[in-house]
């Protein structure tokens, strides 16, 4: 327990350092945050335009889809904010900077994550939250404590899963010194995919995002439970409540793979 506290404290320090360094360029920070917010806002306007033209999507109304959209985007924004360091990990391996982290008596994953905390992702987070709250007030959902809790859990589970993907992508740098760009397809493509109801896609796609990268699992099923929709794919309510846990499970597996990679690490020597 003391160890966990110590870890959290250290991470808080990292965040503090990032905040101070990014606040040196306050105007630039405000502008970037604002731009991120507008950019993800535009995406939602596109979704709105489609609902305006077609009325509904596979039986889902705009507020229902917006709830799902909000969940996915908040989860992704959180992961992008705190795990951004993994995105730049390839550079760290190339320059040999990773050697320095190995000398320190703390978890390497924590240090890599902490070395760049991206604050401007608050823009996307805020935009996701706005869409979510708008949807929540539009829907005829009784916001009981279990439902609220489930939403929070889904966001956390989704964030864990996206972080896991970023860790996995960075892990490849141990072998190739480049992070694989194809992974961006899964992360960014995953955001795009899972902000619409899963029934829209064909079987293969659905299976991929349910079993291989369980992104749909951690957001779509909880959304069903919150909305009180019956699942055309026939999942049970208890599964829908438990599904966010798969996100954490995924992250744990990815961190294992990461540790495997660390053990295989050979410095580039530069």
């Amino acid at each position: 327990m003391a160890k966990l506290q110590d870890t959290l404290l250290l991470y808080a320090r990292y965040v503090g350092v990032s905040v101070r360094s990014q606040m040196q360029y306050r105007a630039s920070f405000v502008m970037l945050t604002f731009a991120t917010m507008l950019i993800s806002g535009l995406e939602f306007v596109a979704t709105w335009a489609l609902f305006d033209r077609f009325g509904s999507l596979a039986g889902w109304t705009l507020p229902e889809a917006a709830l799902l959209y909000g969940l996915v985007n908040m989860a992704f924004a959180l992961a992008e904010g705190w795990a951004r360091g993994f995105d730049e990990f390839g550079q760290m391996v190339k320059s040999g900077g990773f050697d320095r982290l190995l000398l320190r008596p703390r978890s390497t994953a924590l240090q890599v994550a902490g070395h760049h905390v991206q604050l401007m992702r608050i823009g996307r987070l805020a935009q996701g939250a706005v869409v979510f709250i708008w949807a929540a007030t539009r829907l005829q959902v009784a916001w009981s404590p279990p439902r609220v809790l489930l939403c929070l859990l889904a966001i956390a589970g989704g964030a864990a899963l996206f972080s896991g993907l970023m860790v996995l992508q960075a892990t490849f740098a141990f072998w190739s010194t480049e992070s694989l760009e194809v992974f961006n397809t899964v992360t960014y493509g995953g955001v795009e995919t899972t902000q619409y109801p899963l029934t829209v896609y064909r079987d293969g796609f659905r299976r991929f995002f349910t079993y291989v990268v369980p992104l749909a699992t951690v957001t779509y099923y909880p959304a069903l439970a919150v909305l009180g929709r019956s699942d055309p794919l026939g999942s049970s309510l208890s599964f829908q409540y438990a599904s966010p846990l798969f996100g954490f499970l995924f992250l744990i597996v990815c961190l294992r793979v990461w540790n495997l990679g660390v053990r295989h690490y050979h410095s580039t020597g530069s």
């Binding site: 360029y25 630039s28 502008m31 970037l32 604002f34 731009a35 991120t36 507008l38 950019i39 535009l42 995406e43 306007v45 596109a46 335009a49 489609l50 305006d52 033209r53 077609f54 009325g55 509904s56 999507l57 596979a58 039986g59 760009e181 194809v182 961006n184 397809t185 493509g189 795009e192 995919t193 619409y196 029934t199 829209v200 896609y201 064909r202 796609f205």
Partner: protein
């Protein structure tokens, strides 16, 4: 004219070297295309009303968007950005060429080559397997090609404006990303322009963004009849001229206030 053509061709040859990036881009775009086709298919299945564009046309439109994505004024010429940041831009002033057209040629090259590299395989694969229809007619194909050429000029003029703005706001990453996203949105890359609400159509048709992708795509599909080809091209070229003019003025002003420090 000759030196500028030489710059374009050298730039194209440099960009053609990046084949790995093109392969990664190909996979990404293919994946993206699948998702979008599935989503739009589901939307069409959810409504029985007649739409301004058939599902088949929309699917082709979506694939054209993926294949020709790099037509859009996305990223700036990174060498140029670096030069403006570290001040070596001063050397550019000594070259015996008109600075605007010199940079424009570079931009045009860095726009054209990656686009061609990515478009070829994607058009082929989506045409063979994923529902991209053949052009409406041979003349539609010709109209499409001419219009893509005009779109390249328009897109380069856009990019130039964004690059020139760096002379004022060195850290303009956020702004240029925002502008390119707005261009993407209003050119029909998120949602095909014909599917936007009816009340927005006149404004969309007037703005320059339609000329970036929507115009060539609809010529390809025959959704824009051949009779409107001259107006469509004129719209693209007119906006290009306007943006070039504004860009030249901005560049001249920017250079007047530029102070080159020694050392």
């Amino acid at each position: 004219m000759r030196p500028y053509l030489a710059i374009v061709s050298a730039g194209v040859r440099v960009m053609l070297q990046y084949r790995a990036a093109a392969a990664a881009g190909f996979a990404t775009q293919l994946f993206w295309g699948w998702i979008r086709v599935a989503i739009f298919g589901a939307f069409y299945a959810s409504s029985s009303a007649t739409q301004p564009m058939s599902l088949e046309d929309t699917i082709s439109y979506l694939w054209l968007t993926q294949a020709l994505l790099l037509l859009l004024p996305f990223r700036l010429d990174s060498d140029l950005v670096a030069m403006i940041r570290d001040g070596t831009v001063a050397y550019e002033l000594t070259r015996p060429a008109d600075l605007y057209w010199y940079w424009f040629s570079r931009t045009l090259a860095s726009r054209t080559a990656p686009m061609l590299l990515r478009a070829g395989p994607l058009l082929l694969v989506s045409g063979l397997f994923f529902g991209l229809a053949a052009p409406d007619s041979l003349s539609a194909l010709a109209a499409f090609l001419v219009s893509v050429g005009a779109a390249l000029l328009l897109s380069s003029a856009f990019t130039m404006l964004m690059s020139i703005s760096l002379l004022w706001t060195i850290a303009g990453d956020g702004i240029s990303r925002l502008i390119s996203m707005i261009a993407q949105f209003l050119s029909g890359s998120y949602v095909p322009l014909p599917l936007f609400p009816q009340w927005a159509q006149p404004a969309l048709a007037l703005l320059p963004f339609a000329g970036l992708t929507d115009t060539p795509f609809r010529l390809y599909l025959g959704h824009l009849p051949l009779s409107s080809f001259p107006t469509a091209i004129a719209h693209q070229l007119l906006w290009t001229a306007v943006l070039v003019l504004v860009g030249r003025l901005a560049l001249a002003r920017g250079l007047r206030r530029m102070v080159v420090q020694g050392g």
